[in-house]
């Protein structure tokens, strides 16, 4: 009797505290997601009044959509490079800003600021910089590669996107790395110093292994955000020049809403979701292996 009451009480508590958020989560995420999967098997369009079941033809169309796979590869490259450079820069910044540098609080705040500006605004700011400031610089220095805008050449436009992404997220990851640095127990550091570990040796043998949790988080953030990049893509290049910088998310969006191929776009989104999930989980599992206890 008492046990049964307790169980009921537990369920009641669960509903009381988890219910509202679970309800919201289901409404805006779970249900639309499942409904989205269902729609991939139909020729749904918001415009048409009726729609029919079409089986796997949307998925077949995805596999023949050459452009999707091209942009998919490009997105992989973009994610890879922005993850590497962003983490590298963030780590170096964190390393420098945890040493006794003057004005480090000011510098920390400064490096973090770009992250507070939204992707759209950031995109427009950098668009102006690439189109006007950099070209002016090229003219003043008479340096040919800078004379034309970064955004008008397919390869350089992707580089421009990586530069802005690194600039945007480096400060954010830096904060996480700083927390990681600060979290390393003093006694471990002192012990390693007594054992004669200095400078780089200490960094690679003591600090970095102890900071693996920070790396896991930072890599995860960059990989998942990199794949999802849309706002920056839209504001900075909008797919230009000639559609070469449409990252996967933008391609899916245009397929669904501009080409009015809603089913195909949705199918691409599902495939994309699976890829991102696999990439993120693999990364977490792989890096977890390097985790050590102090």
């Amino acid at each position: 009797m008492n046990r049964k009451n307790k169980l009921l009480g537990n369920i009641g508590n669960f509903i009381l505290f988890m219910g509202p958020s679970l309800f919201a989560f289901a409404c805006v995420l779970i249900i639309p997601f499942l409904y989205g999967i269902y729609l991939t098997f139909t020729d749904y369009s918001p415009i048409r009044i009726t729609y029919e079941f079409v089986g796997f033809s949307n998925f077949r169309a995805v596999f023949t959509d050459k452009e999707f796979w091209q942009q998919f590869l490009k997105t992989l490259g973009y994610v890879l490079y922005s993850t590497i450079f962003c983490n590298l820069l963030a780590f170096i910044l964190a390393y420098l800003l945890t040493s006794n540098i003057r004005g480090r609080n000011f510098l920390r705040a400064g490096f973090f600021t770009p992250n507070l500006i939204g992707g759209i605004v950031l995109g427009y700011i950098w668009k102006f910089i690439f189109a006007n400031v950099v070209t002016k610089l090229g003219e003043t220095l008479d340096y040919q590669p800078l004379k034309t805008s970064f955004l008008t050449h397919p390869d350089r436009a992707i580089v421009a996107m990586i530069i802005v992404t690194v600039w945007q997220y480096a400060g954010y990851l830096m904060i996480i790395y700083i927390a990681g640095f600060v979290g390393i127990p003093r006694e471990v550091q002192e012990a390693s110093e007594i054992d004669g570990a200095t400078g780089l040796k200490k960094l690679f043998s003591v600090t970095i292994p102890l900071m693996v949790p920070s790396f896991i988080i930072c890599f995860f953030i960059m990989i998942s955000r990199g794949f999802m990049t849309y706002d920056l893509n839209l504001a900075l290049t909008n797919g230009q020049p000639y559609g070469s910088t449409r990252l996967a998310a933008m391609h899916i969006y245009q397929k669904a809403f501009q080409a009015n191929e809603y089913g195909i776009g949705q199918a691409e989104a599902i495939i994309f979701f699976i890829t991102v999930a696999i990439a993120a989980v693999t990364q977490v599992l792989l890096t977890k292996k390097f985790e050590v206890e102090a």
Binding site: L16, A131, Q240, P241, Y242, Q258, A259
Partner: protein
Amino acid sequence: MKKRLLAMILMLVIAAVTVTACGGKTADTGSGGETVGTTDPGTSGGADTKKPVKITYFNTSAEVNTMFENMFKRYNELYPHVTIELIPTGIGEGQQEKLQSLYASGNAPTFMNVDPANVIEYQDHLLEFTEENAPWLSLATDGAVDGGTFDGKVLGAPWSVQGYALLYNKRVVDEIFGKGNFDPASINTRDALEEFFEKCEAAGVPATMLHGANWSLGGHYLTLVYAVQGPKTEDGTGFIDKIKSGEVNIEDSPIFQGYMDTFDLLAKYNYNKSDPLVADFNRDAQAFAEGKCATFFMGDWLWTTLVTMENIDTEYGFIPVPWSNDPSLYGNSEVVMVLPKFQCINKSQNTPEQQQAALDALGWMLTEPEGQQFFLDAGFYMPYKNVRDDIEYNSMTTSIAEYAQKGKTINLGVFSYISGDVWTETGNLMLKYLAGAIDRDELAKGINDYWRSIR
């Protein structure tokens, strides 16, 4: 136990607050609508007997959101029982997506101002304009409703006319040729255009400018190839159908080859040649308006951008974009005239009362002098017979109107069928061609492949 009770009460309060907050909106609008009806009844004849109606208006002409807002405010003063809510959109803000989401969620706007391509896309949802329900539409100038007519049904009401071709800066051209020596009608062959360009260059003025954006080159320039196939809309759509079925390739058309030859000429004398894909609209507009180049492939909508700038020239005119060396051929001495937007009424998700209110409001906006004045003040050229004729338009619109009076216009009805991602995709190919990344054969192949890939 007491604590739990307290927590439970708190949670309930929070839940109640959220629920009422969400529901508040609908309750608000209901009572808001009522107050309009009850507080000032009868400011205009018979309004007090009518039930208050609330209708929504979706606008894709982002540059004139305020114009519509003022118009609806005035309409509400005249007819207090009708409240029109404007759903504004921003330039490049994903207008199509917003409209789709409104339709998908069952909140379709009662009436809307959209591209002709949308009229085709949404035709199942749209109310047909007939003699009975929209007698005012008979005031439209001849042929103006054709662009909004599909399968014999008039689904869209026109409200503005725009045009595009090669704009030229009159001051700059006068300086080169001497005042009054340049006759725009003399440019009716490609050779004449080239000669004109060479003279400009000889005078030290870059001859022309291409805006390196896919909407300009794909939506406007390449569309000329379809439109000039013949004076009727069917000529253009028939040509597209033949490409789709594989019966012809676009490169077989002398018109395509001709326009691409002219395009090469434009690209050769392009002011933006060193970095043709920058596509900064304000920068290009400013450069042209300051007289840094003599001509610009653009339309009269450029004016709305220019009025915000200072120290610029105000006198402009259009010259055609000739595609061959035979002045008698269609397209060589004509400029494009297009009805870029149409007004449509939704019948699938609005009540008959709302539809009727929208019909009445549209009639007032488009054909009553007071409604028309709003459009005229914003500088629009309206395709209606009863528009007052003492209006002074800006120099670009005047130039288009002059061509129209002489019948020297290209019918761009085919533009209605350039929907979805046509102009982005084919425009991207044009940009590749402009940047030298592909040659003309690859361009033609890309365009053929595109048309054959869509359903």
